[in-house]
Symmetry: C2
Subunit: 211 residues, 2 copies
Amino acid sequence: MTRIAIVGGTGDLGMGLAARLATHGSVVIGSRDPSRAVDAASRVTTISGSRVEGRTNLEAAAWCEAAILAIPELPSDETLLSLKPSLGGKLVISPIVPMTVREGLFFPSLESGSAAERVASALQTRVASAFHTVPAARLLKVKSTLNYDVLVAAETREVFAEAAALVSSIEGLRPLYAGPLRNSRMLESMTPALLNVGKLNGISHPSIRVV
Amino acid sequence: MTRIAIVGGTGDLGMGLAARLATHGSVVIGSRDPSRAVDAASRVTTISGSRVEGRTNLEAAAWCEAAILAIPELPSDETLLSLKPSLGGKLVISPIVPMTVREGLFFPSLESGSAAERVASALQTRVASAFHTVPAARLLKVKSTLNYDVLVAAETREVFAEAAALVSSIEGLRPLYAGPLRNSRMLESMTPALLNVGKLNGISHPSIRVV
């Protein structure tokens, strides 16, 4: 039974992942502000029926065996460096998608590389990039059936397998290996594309299936 | 009944699109080498049961009402400039995906921008970007049922609607508007991502559905 920290987990994606993962494992939501973490954890406990706790990001990181960085923006170097000692040797999953909005549409905001590579470079541990196209709102509705593919970039097949086990523990998510971490750039650019398609075609909470 | 030219249409994607479109419209396959165009057109006629002709790219472009640039690489400026007079005022569809292969995996090869924007800038006509993730091998098997989404970038809703009508004329393809042409960069990067996922997970001829 894995101990999973959702670092920066007070937003919809963090709470949604916590709610889905809590039924099979032990989950702690982290936040810089511990009272916000406790509030989010309490909401997730109500939603999921499984006890989830809230702590500071650093406490959650120190406690966990695997961490998901559910931070909407690329974390600052300071944030990543502060987490590094606690996350060393652990699996870290980056669902981070750096995006900007222009005229109501979404665009990748990194000129080059990917959020996941920057996280890996700062934390110097096993990093997988995943969950970019899983709609947070669907995760939060724990009774709604999921049927999505989750593309996962990771430097090796071994790290992919670790991340895939975590992804698969959420029913209805199929992990697919997308190659080494540098491929995360392609995965991270799918999210703004998908959000635009959703908005422009009236598809709420769009996700993808590989067919 | 639209007259559609498949410029550079002697490859699998060109022949596959020709085979599917020929059942509803009038299709000419173009090539720099007219004898290759005639050979490809003859194969497509056999496959589809509908008469398709082969001509030079310039003849096909001059004849058509709408052109699909089924060229695997970004066409050279010379090629685009040679086509410009024939394609002025017509709808041009770019399925072009500039890619490189490294260690058996695929990556977008443009540092910035997109093939579709370069085509639009060179041709100065209505350009839509589409068909990036439709497997050529499935198109060529005219009896196999398609069930794919086709993301389409186009500068305006009007150009999208024109392109969408062409996409929809192939049964089993659902056109979805993905925003202005600059969004084509995101669409063009989906193809290498999808090819990698197919290769690494044993999914032959992968495509996508937005769900």
